[in-house]
Symmetry: D2
């Protein structure tokens, strides 16, 4: 495969550039006869959209999804579901101003070296706009998972220095959640302040998203290489700006003793603790799956930066343009979508071998 | 694919159980006419072997690799390279003693639920012994990478509370390295003490491995899903006991500002800093690639633990048997091997599209 | 994979239904910096189009290709190339007339059983219209192959009882070819008559297409399973109405002796004869590759036929609607396209392993 | 994938050279808890073995299968099943005599050009001995299919000029079958004579195998590319010496009219005729699946042949060595095995999407 298809049995093939006419995808392997939940699609798109909050890009897009195939009478047909979303509010002026100068910590250099084509008009294929395709595909995976009562929800657990301190191991009541997807009101205020002050500095800032999956049946995951956590890790690290992944006890486990870390069984095959993060030996064990993903500060900032041009000569990359201060909260539905795609794929693989 | 094959063009298919007759693998897609470096294979196997240090299992295995195909006159032929390593020192007495009782934080429960077969004689397919197959396969990938001057080296950077504090961003002189693969003499001593005291407590302990890759050509990685870091993350999380992965600035980046984090270009397309960890937009940028992997404390400890039997009734899982105190240092060559396999695979994919 | 993606490194993902809004595809793995030959695309589409000849469907479609991504300044960028073609002249009246009755020798029954959805409005996903996607994708593969001087051309060698009697082992001058792609003028006239008389009988008729590939480099094909002929066979049998595939001496070889069949080497590693059809042990040997594909008579005829309805009760399937008398000549560019896709894919795989 | 793995969910990875120490394979994705039918394995191996008939090679091999993994208490465990079979009776004298001279219509030239390695000791990886791996793997697929009552049987329907004249559309009583797998006693005698006279001429001869599959559930096959017949075609053309594939009405359909060819439905969704060969629109329709495979005369003959050496200079390839006169009947169980693997794979894929 050439890199733009994800999944084994439930697959999404992604296409489109941020500054082309559209982005889109083709979902293949979505089971037939699922009722298409258009409200879910609109809700998830909205969560990912540029909005009126002070910390997001001023680019406006309506992001209507145009479906081309695979749906009949609001039901999936089992055929490939193709869709696209137009790019409407394209303003290349900022990119024109930096034409020929490589953007630091961004795709310019590696793309021009790999593909032999210099695309100065925004990051093209490498833009975060591509993740919208994943969100739409994730909704179809979610329709499938919902038919099995599986639930997936992601939260903002860090923005810069503001950290939600507790491990997030279960889904919270919807009422507690705000437009930052932060699970705590006070921390939410601090995060808003962090975003505002970062914006005031013409800077960007990193963050962390944590995700919980409930009601996974026991048995998902295909050792030894396609362990459930391995496919989740790949899914998460394929998201723009992601820098790290941990599940269950994660990096903290490196400092722990086995006598503390081991999850003791209780009767009915449940465990007292859940350091394992719902996955044992690469296979879901029925406990909640939870994991976190770290995101770097976005490369686009409002400050001039030292750089070179495509000839390799010193040049200044000018700050400006319309950009988010932080990949969060817009990446929250993307994390959910990728987790959903992994779960749907593994649920189909699990079905395949359940022959008795 | 059914989960036991890794890679797209350079592939390893793994087989065997820890308490069966052998473990082994089939490498497919290894370029022909590579000289087989048997010394490298012996060295890497030795690094992974149970040895005389106080913190490793007392199980002794000679681990001679028997090659069945794909090599002629000490050269790879381009045909699949099949190999196996016999399991020689099998002592199931500990497992007999716990027959019918599920081992906490281990594969017993998920395997019996997934496959419908209860394998009480050690963890079978889920044993860390399986990783030896990866080490052997990684050596062939390394022979290929060495022909392109690419270097890969992993280090122990944490055992329990003892942490190597600096980011490891380049390969160190061999002379500085000890049998723990720790890059610092004093920290090495502290780590040894941590291992000894853990053993004295009949307990196990977690750790962290950091890996550096040098001389990677610009252009490896296939966005948007098969980004180089995504495939590295999958590779690492497919290793037994791995709980987290981060590359470049990793989880620290969540607290950083873009103005600090951005790697500014210098002339000749190099960067002043390397928070990107050698990968930009999913594609290698020619700087050193570096990443870390967290490992949990092993589930096997010398203490009795509360559990249930396979009927779901309360039971005691007895401590004992022969087990490592820590997955480190034996997992260090496994991390190297998986990184090597990812790089070799992506180098072949890179070659494929270099048509001009 | 879920069945709608073809290829390993050069891939096409197909979507769309004949009576939906459009059909389309996503090409992934097309090398960058190929000049897009829009004339070639138009020519090949035209060859496949419904036209004014007496033997083709009266459905009219302009078949303009709308490209959504992957092309910049008329060059491929290395990103996925998404495209679609609108369905414009949809007339469901014939299908309405047969609503609920299963069409004999067609997709109705197997699709409704497999996907649980009854799509009476034409064959939907199973329509020959889907093959237009392959033709467009094949043009991009062709642009790549042309950069290596590889040539592919298919011919009509049988329509019903009219058979082109000689093996077609090399590409003919363009001037000799007519709108049936038949390599002989007299046989062309007989074929036209066969088509006319079949139409007069409200019937359909089968045929055969033969294809030649010239200038293939030695070495394409990946034994033991992905032999070049194996992937060609799969490609051809994935075309609607295809019933058989043979290459080189084909089914005739079953009656031959080795002393006659063996292709003796001459100096310069060429062979005197080419019963091998340009492929030896699964790998191209530099001689011309040639093969034939048999196609059944199309299921759509102008006669009433006994059938059952979706409840399984006896019913009459009424003849009529707009249909081709024969899959030929419209399938000729489809055969070419699929051959081109296989060659492009194997050329990339060949490149991957050419490391020295 | 690198060419030596077949299948999507039920996979076989093949390894080994005919003149190396062994051949073998790894089956991955075989469902767990299947009882291993060792008698079936022995029977199928025996059918493929060199034996005492006058038309087969005098090479003797006991062909005991050594299983390395994936089986416990005579049950499949769901883990990869690795196995190998030793090569015992290696006599390279014939190959020594022709060292440096390219064997006509054989693998020598393409292998040396592709892999850069000249393996004069028999055809190595390209030997028909490799197909034994497929036979063993096919037995495990068969154990799975038998649990669903699916039956697969192949027959010899042509040797040279002797042709079994009727289409073979159903499985015959076992009693009627002889050591040539020919379904007719008189034709069997003629075939034996054809083989004897060919041997007397120091020549080889081609043939045809026909295969029938009964009790396939409706719904197997994944359009539009992984149609059931497409995967069968690939499977068959991946067998050494195969030159053509046709299913149902096959090449005959090219001369037929739709009014004759269409399979009319009767009540209960069965069809009066079965020109479709049990597959409609790429999906099994519940009728018997039947297909034929043409095989060329083997390249190895007892006569001297004009050739060139590896420098490209004229040379004589000397006749001799131990070889079969015809690939039939030994290829009959190989055809069965490959069909079985395709069916098992598609049955698992079918299971995957059966979610309601």
């Amino acid at each position: 495969m050439a890199g733009n298809t994800f999944g084994t049995l439930f697959t999404i093939t992604s296409f489109g550039e941020s500054h082309g006419c559209c982005i889109g995808g083709v979902i293949d392997g979505c089971p037939s006869n699922l009722r298409v939940d258009y409200d879910l699609i609109q809700q998830k798109i909205k969560e990912r959209q540029t909005n009126s909050l002070p910390y997001t890009s001023s680019r406006h897009e309506s992001d209507d999804v145009i479906f081309l195939s695979g749906i009949s009478n609001k039901l999936t047909t089992g055929a490939p579901i193709a869709f696209y979303i137009k790019n409407q509010d394209i303003d290349s002026s900022h990119y024109e101003a930096n034409k020929g100068v490589l953007k630091p910590s961004h795709a310019d250099y590696t793309y021009v070296k790999k593909y032999g084509i210099y695309d100065y008009k925004g990051s093209g294929r490498a833009s975060a706009r591509e993740t919208l395709v994943r969100v739409v595909a994730g909704c179809f995976a979610m329709m499938f998972l919902q038919s099995k009562a599986i639930k997936i929800k992601a939260y903002t657990t860090q923005i810069g220095s503001i950290v939600y301190p507790k491990p997030l191991t279960q889904i919270l009541p919807d009422a507690d959640i705000n437009d930052l997807h932060c699970p705590d009101k006070e921390i939410y205020q601090s995060m808003l302040n962090e975003l505002k002050s970062t914006r005031a500095q013409n800077d960007s800032i990193g963050g962390k998203v944590s995700c919980v999956i409930e009601n996974t049946p026991v048995g998902l995951g295909e050792p030894v290489f396609d362990k459930l956590q391995a496919d989740l890790a790949k899914a998460m690290l394929s998201i723009n700006a992601a820098k790290g992944f941990e599940y269950g006890s994660g990096f903290q486990s490196a400092a722990m003793k086995g006598s503390i870390h081991n999850d003791l069984f209780t009767s009915e095959f449940r465990t007292k603790t859940n350091h394992s993060g719902g996955i044992q030996a690469g296979i879901s064990n029925g406990e909640n799956i939870y994991f976190s993903v770290a995101f770097k500060p976005l490369a686009s900032i409002g400050q001039n930066q030292e750089s070179v041009n495509i000839q390799g000569e010193k040049a200044i990359y000018k700050g400006g343009g319309r950009h988010d201060v932080c990949v969060i909260p817009r990446v929250v539905p993307v994390v959910e979508a990728m987790a959903t795609l992994v779960l749907a794929d593994h649920l189909l693989r699990f079905n395949a071998y359940k022959i008795h």
